[in-house]
Symmetry: C2
Subunit: 340 residues, 2 copies
């Protein structure tokens, strides 16, 4: 060695270089339907191997690794599910999201964008063709709507509480880029006089309409198919929900969209943006810089905005007043912008 | 939803599905030479952008994410290196391993094996052609020898201490699959009467010989090029080092190799296996199940062995007695096997 060996070793560096094996292990376990093979009283590698039609050796090695990454537990040589895997990765659960989750990560812009990350940093925006994930009717958003449904349902309930929608009376709600639809659906459930107008690509709206039907709010659930930037919004709305959407765009596009939204609002109308809003250092919560990197890889101009940046964009779009609100135990935050 | 939304959300699942972006971010940062761009008194995104010839927007987003994964710190809008990045990822450091690290993870069996992980689990061994990483003279081992040199140098010193090699007198040491060579080199440095015989593929031996030269032990450093399973070992050795090698093979192959090694030992000779040896539950330390999964993906029969399993393999190979030793603050462990 040029100098004596340093005390600090590159353990974090090697850990990071190997972290894609976490994704591979989870994908393989879903493909083998391994979580469905585990009984409520625990299962041995041999039991699981029979169900997965694979040799016990491979199954044992995979299960041990799934313990390391917190997807299984091991006690006395038997494997048990964690709450999260039992709920979301076991086909016997009504909340199973395994297929949608691996579809979303198997190909498409979420993966391809990171394969071209160096080029994206060099150009300051995605190196993918056709605006990356923002290409019209990109199928990735259907997968996304399916995979994110549990988180959406949870945040939807929190949002309905925050907006006190149960006491809002007869309101008309526009849910921009609604995805799974759970934000608007939660408002419809809390307020039987709310009418929801869900906007997204037609294929995504099928997911949302299905969720609205299951929630029993179909009769008050209407659709506005198409591109929100070009679609004509004929109604007047008391509330416009913009959930996890503004970060996909640059500040000028956000301003244009918010101006268009403001023109559809009633006198007392409010626009509500629910998204990752980091502290001013942009580091906290850590999901925010992680999303910012994804947006750099996948979109031309997307970014994560701090509250002062968002407040300025709303102001330029003509809104009179904004306020920043926390969303219960979620680390996402909400900006409420008042038309007047 | 079929039932009311559960309290537990799939945060760990989504975190795992996104973990390959950690590898992508580190690789991109090395490709842009970003760590070399950061001065000792901290640098702004603008400063770094100039050095990397990239727009500040992309650099800022990447740097924030590098903070999240512990490779940078951010204070007052400036980025600082961590000890680990300054030592190993900054080209100005004599310990720089960036190129070797990304080469090792850019392609080759370490990556391709995980792309075929589902097939590997189904067949109980690598789905790669030609024995995966164990194909003769596979170039991955040269990259591995370069990238792992710092860890090898650190463990080499610990091993020399553990074996009390400084007081061993005139000994002949065979270093099996020596890689970077640092285990044998450390013994040569601690004991001026030790002669080292380093065995590995010819291209890997070039790395080891270079390290021996830098350590000033060239005159006592000899090479045994070729495949250890077929090469003729003519000398008698007092010590045979087998570091991070047995796990690449199945138990029968280990037994064959150890039998061959035993025949080369002097009467008082010892074989010393340094490797990841998990507790009997196979989960602790967590690097062990992680390595087991890599070996399943990359090798036909490789696995991680517990101490009882290893002791049994040594016994079948004719060794009289084995002992398990800890390797200082390293979490790797050592089995010392006595010929007589």
């Amino acid at each position: 060695m040029h100098e004596s060996a340093p005390e600090t070793l590159p353990h974090n560096i090697f850990g990071i270089l190997q972290s894609s094996q976490r994704t591979a292990a989870l994908t393989t376990a879903i493909e083998l339907d391994l979580f469905t093979a585990i009984s409520e009283s625990g299962s041995s590698a041999d039991d699981i191997a029979v169900h997965c039609r694979a040799p016990a050796r491979g199954v044992r090695v995979l299960c041990d690794y799934l313990c390391v990454i917190g997807l299984l537990q091991k006690r006395l040589g038997h494997y048990w599910q964690m709450d999260e895997t039992a709920l979301y990765l076991d086909r016997r659960s009504p909340h199973f999201i395994g297929d949608a989750a691996i579809e979303m990560r198997a190909d498409g812009p979420f993966v391809e964008g990171f394969q071209k990350l160096t080029q994206a940093v060099r150009r300051g925006g995605t190196a993918l063709a056709s605006a990356g994930s923002l290409a019209p009717e990109h199928p990735c958003w259907v997968q996304f709507a399916r995979a994110r449904a549990p988180i959406g349902a949870s945040n939807g309930k929190r949002l309905a509480t925050l907006l006190e929608s149960s006491s809002s009376g007869a309101i008309r709600v526009l849910d921009i880029a609604c995805g799974h639809g759970h934000h608007g659906i939660a408002i419809a459930k809390s307020n039987p006089r709310a009418e929801i107008f869900a906007q997204d690509w037609p294929a995504v709206l099928e997911v949302a309409v299905g969720n609205a039907r299951e929630a029993g709010v179909s009769e008050r659930y209407h659709t506005v198919p198409g591109d929100v930037f070009s679609v004509t919004l004929r109604e007047r709305y008391d509330l416009v929900l913009i959930t996890n959407f503004l970060p996909d765009f640059g500040p000028a596009e956000c301003e244009d969209l918010l101006t268009k939204i403001r023109h559809t609002l009633t006198q007392d109308g409010r626009a509500v943006a629910l998204q990752w809003i980091p502290d001013d250092d942009r580091l906290s919560p850590p999901t925010a810089p992680s999303l910012a990197l994804s947006l750099l890889a996948e979109t031309p101009r997307g970014d994560v905005y701090t509250y002062p940046e968002l407040a300025e964009i709303f102001r330029r779009a003509g809104f009179k007043r904004t306020e920043l609100r926390e969303l219960g135990s979620s680390l996402q935050r909400v900006v409420i912008a008042h038309h007047q």
